[in-house]
């Protein structure tokens, strides 16, 4: 097993002195390549913070975080940008599509700057939106928008996809479609998927589950009995 991510003593503190918030308190974790990893934990336990540091959006206060042999904690801003551009796809709770671009154009936004992209239409087929490529975000439902966001993340064929509460704003039926798409991407393309959620049942589809509490890893569990997303209820 090769690890995509390795962290050692990772901490992240917001503010100083009395009012300091310790979002991460020394996290040591490994994320194996090609797996779906679900991160669980109560609200405020540090899930997003860890995701953001691994995704190159935020910086650790101390400790190290490596993506393969790259030391994320030592990179300049420009290098981090490059890192996100070349290796990472993001999916957020609120989709973050460009409202002024159609579904296809939103995907092309990324494929234009990617090294080894698939065609935008192909990515949209993959998420089941082949018929809606020319719609603007305002003309799509929440679930469809989230699937465009996934298509956009997938289209550049990243090594890793980060999903922060991807189903958070969706009803469970729509959420399940989104999870199926993610599962499909992992199976077909071998993309490592690191997903944050507070819906514990979603962990059933993961290869591995990481539980955080109060800024530290509580436990890491390998899931011997993965369930297909279609069978998950939450």
């Amino acid at each position: 097993m090769t690890a995509d991510f390795t962290t050692r003593g990772l901490t992240r503190t917001y503010g100083e002195g009395h009012s300091a918030v310790h979002a991460l308190r020394g996290v040591d974790v490994e994320i194996p390549a090609g797996e779906i990893v679900v991160m669980l934990g109560a609200s405020g336990s540090g899930k997003s913070t860890l995701l953001n540091i691994l995704g190159g959006l935020d910086r650790a206060t101390s400790g190290t975080a490596h993506f393969r042999d790259m030391d994320l904690t030592a990179m300049t801003d420009a290098r981090l940008t490059r890192y996100r551009r070349d290796h990472i796809g993001f999916v957020f709770q609120f989709y973050n599509l460009m409202p002024s671009l159609t579904a296809r154009e939103n995907v092309e936004l990324v494929t234009e700057i990617a090294r080894n992209p698939m065609r935008a239409e192909e990515a949209l087929e993959l998420v089941g939106l082949g018929a809606r490529v020319d719609h603007f975000p305002a003309q799509l439902s929440g679930g469809e928008q989230q699937r465009v966001a996934i298509a956009r993340a997938v289209a550049k064929q990243p090594e890793v996809m980060f999903c922060d509460e991807p189903t958070g704003a969706l009803d469970s039926a729509t959420g399940r479609t989104v999870l199926e798409v993610l599962n499909e991407v992992n199976a077909r393309l071998g993309t490592t998927i690191l997903m944050v959620t507070h819906a514990a049942n979603i962990a059933d589809m993961a290869h591995r589950v990481i539980r955080l509490a109060d800024g530290a890893i509580r436990e890491v569990v390998e899931n011997g009995q993965r369930k297909p997303p279609a069978e998950i209820v939450w």
């Binding site: 959006l57 935020d58 551009r85 460009m98 671009l101 154009e105 939103n106 305002a138 956009r152």
Partner: protein, 788 residues
């Protein structure tokens, strides 16, 4: 207890500090100009009125050659005349040891009991001369100050050709001498023109006026008709060489002060509204942006049970705090700058006392206008607050609907990359907003281009007047018309390269009921030194019959080429001419009327007479030449072009013209404010999209393009529109600045417009850079947490 909404208000104000200050400053500037200018108008008007009243300025003036004092009784007996006095007035020369040319002066007789007479002097220092003294005089304060003279000092003066030394008894001002200029020059210059007041007996002896007078001063009874009195006075004085009585409003001194006040009044009406409109506009876009981004909070407040009016009041308070704060700052600034500006008027006008008294009405209108302008901006926004449904807060954030923006799937559109599409769609989705921003920037362009045009126009006036219109080195005026032979004797002075004769005769020009008291200038048919020029700077040849009028004069008389004009010469045989206006000349200084000297002399039946000469001299010998002119008794004065140029420059830089610097600076500051606010708002609206782009791995420059591309396009689109508006604005401001004294031409000046365009682009770049800094610093994680 402070309500939570009010606490939010304070926090909002602190958060938007830069914008609050910028908008407040624009409002303050508008109010400042309003308070300052209307205060100056009020102060000048009131001071002048009080001064005239206290020092009994005559209401009708009637110059003549010479009349026995007994005639005064007849004038006093005219119905409607309250009081009639005669005085002696004459031209004089002062020989200052450190001046190359003799300086011109006007000598006036003091009334025997000067504390009672008309046009009473206002003593500044020293004492009145002893009525019996022969060699004592009062000197006008401005001249005394300029030359460091005071009571007890001595002056070498030529009175009626006789040279003598006078002792300065004191310094003074007088209400008929608010504005003093060298005859024939018009530029006020305290250092180069003096007024001397002497006891009547002494002056009578010098000018051969024993028991006689040559200027009548008259005040009117309440309700008397000025014109009727003038007609009767003219009838009485005609046999005595009367050159036409005129009312106070035709008094040169009063006329120029009136022009100044009118100019100020025009400006005080034009400028403040422009600033307030700009402020209202910025306020509107800033607050509407704020309401847009606080949609959810507003919905939430309403859901909690706050009424639309309560929530609206919260935003309205914000608008009012900025408006009233700006207006109050403007009032204070207006008082301070009014006090500073009033000093300018004491330099150029001989007011003995001049206190800046702000017009209370200006405060009221200033504050009211700011509140109104801000409310107008605020009301549009409030409508949205009212319309917003409480449910809005509960809805998930909906992306803006771009389905009706441009499609971009044509052959060109398909080649565009996605960031460019975002720019174009952003613009096309809200064309009104884009147009509003463009309009704002265009307003800035107009202000800057307009003001720069005015700057360059001032310089152009100088340059053109002294290199195209008047190319002489000096103008020599004689005490009385001489034969042309005088020209030859002058031309023989070593170093004099060229002379050109001229003849000035005082005249009243009339077109129907419009009239102007001025002079006709006779010149050779094709003069080489001082010329009438047309709009293309080509010399206008003078016709054998007819007159060429300067622009300002043609305006006053409302005549055009081809119209007939009545010219009543008030000198010599006083002929009346009916002549056509053959052409209107482009003038920069003064309001001249040109005729051929031979036609003029024929009309006067005084062939071959000249009243002065334009000369060109060898620069190395200039001082020696002026020195030899000092000793010629027939020379009334020498105006050296260099001195005139310096006076004009001073007037434009320190006088009323100096306002252009302030206004120019303000224009550029405002322009920057508009551009920066436009950019800032565009950024606030896009912050979230930009963060998303950065998360996806777009570099800073790539993300900035999406933001600044839009700003850039809007800026570019606004330039031509602004340029056009700037052209119009320059015309209006030039009109405001132009007086009979100098006319500011404001054509399309490519340099000014280019400069303004560069400034706008520069401002856009700096704004872009400032905002790109924010963009660089933006915390990606934070930006993604906030929705919308």
């Amino acid at each position: 207890m402070v309500s939570p909404l009010d606490r939010k208000l304070l926090r909002d104000l602190r958060r938007m500090k830069a914008q609050v200050i910028a908008i407040g400053a624009v409002i303050a500037t508008g109010v400042l100009l309003q308070v300052m200018m209307s205060g100056l108008v009020a102060s000048l008007t009131e001071t002048r009125r009080a001064y005239y009243e206290r020092n009994r300025l005559a209401e009708v003036f009637a110059p003549l050659t010479r009349a026995p004092e007994a005639e005064l009784a007849r004038i006093a007996a005219i119905p409607g005349v309250a009081r009639a006095e005669g005085r002696i007035a004459g031209a004089a020369l002062i020989d200052m040891p450190d001046e190359a040319v003799p300086l011109q002066a006007r000598a006036l007789s003091l009334p025997d009991r000067s504390e009672r007479g008309l046009n009473a002097v206002y003593m500044i220092s020293g004492a009145l001369p002893d009525p019996a003294a022969r060699d004592e005089a009062l000197l006008i304060e401005g001249f005394a100050k300029a030359h460091g003279l005071g009571p007890g000092d001595r002056l070498t003066v030529t009175l009626n050709g006789a040279r003598r030394v006078l002792r300065i008894a004191g310094t003074a001002q007088a209400p008929d001498m608010l504005y003093t200029a060298v005859p024939g020059e018009m530029m006020p210059d305290a250092a180069r023109f003096a007024v001397l007041w002497m006891p009547r007996a002494a002056l009578a002896a010098a000018y051969d006026m024993d028991g006689a007078f040559n200027e009548t001063l008259v005040t009117l009874a309440r309700g008397a008709s000025e014109q009727a009195v003038i007609d009767r006075i003219d009838a009485i004085l005609r046999p005595w060489g009367g050159t036409g009585a005129y009312g106070r409003d035709q008094l040169v001194s009063d006329r120029f002060v009136t022009e100044e006040i009118n100019g100020l009044r025009t400006m005080s009406r034009v400028m403040p509204p422009i600033f307030l409109a700009v402020a209202a506009f910025i306020l509107y876009i800033v607050v509407s942006r704020m309401v847009q981004s606080e949609r959810e909070e507003i919905g939430l407040l309403k859901a909690f049970g706050y009424t639309g009016a309560e929530v609206g009041a919260h935003y309205f308070k914000l608008v009012m705090i900025i408006a009233i704060g700006g207006a109050l700052a403007g009032c204070l600034g207006g008082i301070a700058s009014g006090r500073a500006m009033i000093g300018v008027y004491t330099t150029f006008y001989n007011f003995p006392f001049l206190v800046f008294r702000p017009d209370p009405a200006a405060f009221a209108t200033g504050v009211a206008a700011s509140v109104l302008a801000a409310s107008a901006g605020g009301l549009f926004v409030l409508r949205r607050v009212f319309r917003l449904a409480p449910a809005e807060a509960m809805r998930p954030p909906a992306p803006g609907d771009f389905s009706r923006s441009i499609r971009l799937d044509g052959p060109v559109g398909r080649r565009l990359d996605q960031p460019t599409r975002m720019v174009l769609r952003g613009l096309s989705r809200q064309p009104l907003r884009a147009a509003a921003l463009a309009a704002g920037i265009a307003a800035g362009m107009a202000l800057s281009a307009g003001m720069t045009t005015i700057y360059t126009s001032f310089d152009r006036v100088m340059e053109m007047n002294f290199s195209v219109v008047d190319r002489s080195d000096a103008t020599v005026l004689f005490t009385h018309p001489l034969s042309e032979r005088a020209a030859f004797s002058l031309a023989r002075i070593p170093g004099v390269l060229q002379v050109e004769p001229m003849r000035d005769v005082p005249a009243i020009l009339r077109n129907g009921r419009l009239s102007h008291r001025g002079a006709i200038t006779g010149m050779p048919a094709a003069p080489e030194m001082t010329r009438a020029i047309d709009a293309d700077q080509r010399p206008i040849p003078l016709p054998a019959e007819g007159v060429v009028l300067g622009e300002a004069l043609a305006d006053v008389l409302q005549v055009r080429a081809g119209d007939m004009l009545r010219i009543e010469v008030t000198n010599g045989r006083q002929p009346v001419l009916e002549v056509p206006v053959t052409q209107v000349a482009r003038t920069l200084l003064g309001a001249p009327a040109y005729m051929r000297i031979d036609s003029l002399n024929r009309a006067m039946r005084e062939p071959g007479l000249i009243s002065g000469l334009h000369v060109r001299v060898d620069a190395a010998q200039a001082d020696a030449i002026w020195l030899s002119l000092k000793d010629m008794p027939a020379v009334a004065g020498v105006s050296v072009a260099e001195d005139m140029q310096a006076s004009l420059q001073k007037l434009m830089d320190q006088g009323a013209g100096s306002a252009r610097y302030i206004m120019g600076a303000i224009a550029f500051i405002i322009t920057f404010g508009i551009v920066f606010n436009a950019a800032r708002i565009a950024y606030d609206e896009r912050a979230h999209d930009l963060a998303s782009l950065r998360v996806m791995g777009f570099t800073r420059a790539e993300a900035a393009f999406v933001l600044l591309g839009e700003l850039g396009l809007i800026t570019l689109a606004s330039l031509p529109v602004g340029s056009l508006a700037g052209y119009g604005l320059a015309q209006a401001i030039a009109e405001g600045f132009s007086t009979e004294l100098y006319q500011i031409p404001a054509g399309y000046d490519p340099f000014s417009h280019g400069f303004a365009a560069l400034f706008i682009v520069g401002a856009a770049l700096v704004s872009g850079w400032l905002i790109k800094r924010d963009l660089d610093r933006a915390d990606l994680v934070l930006a993604l947490k906030t929705r919308e």
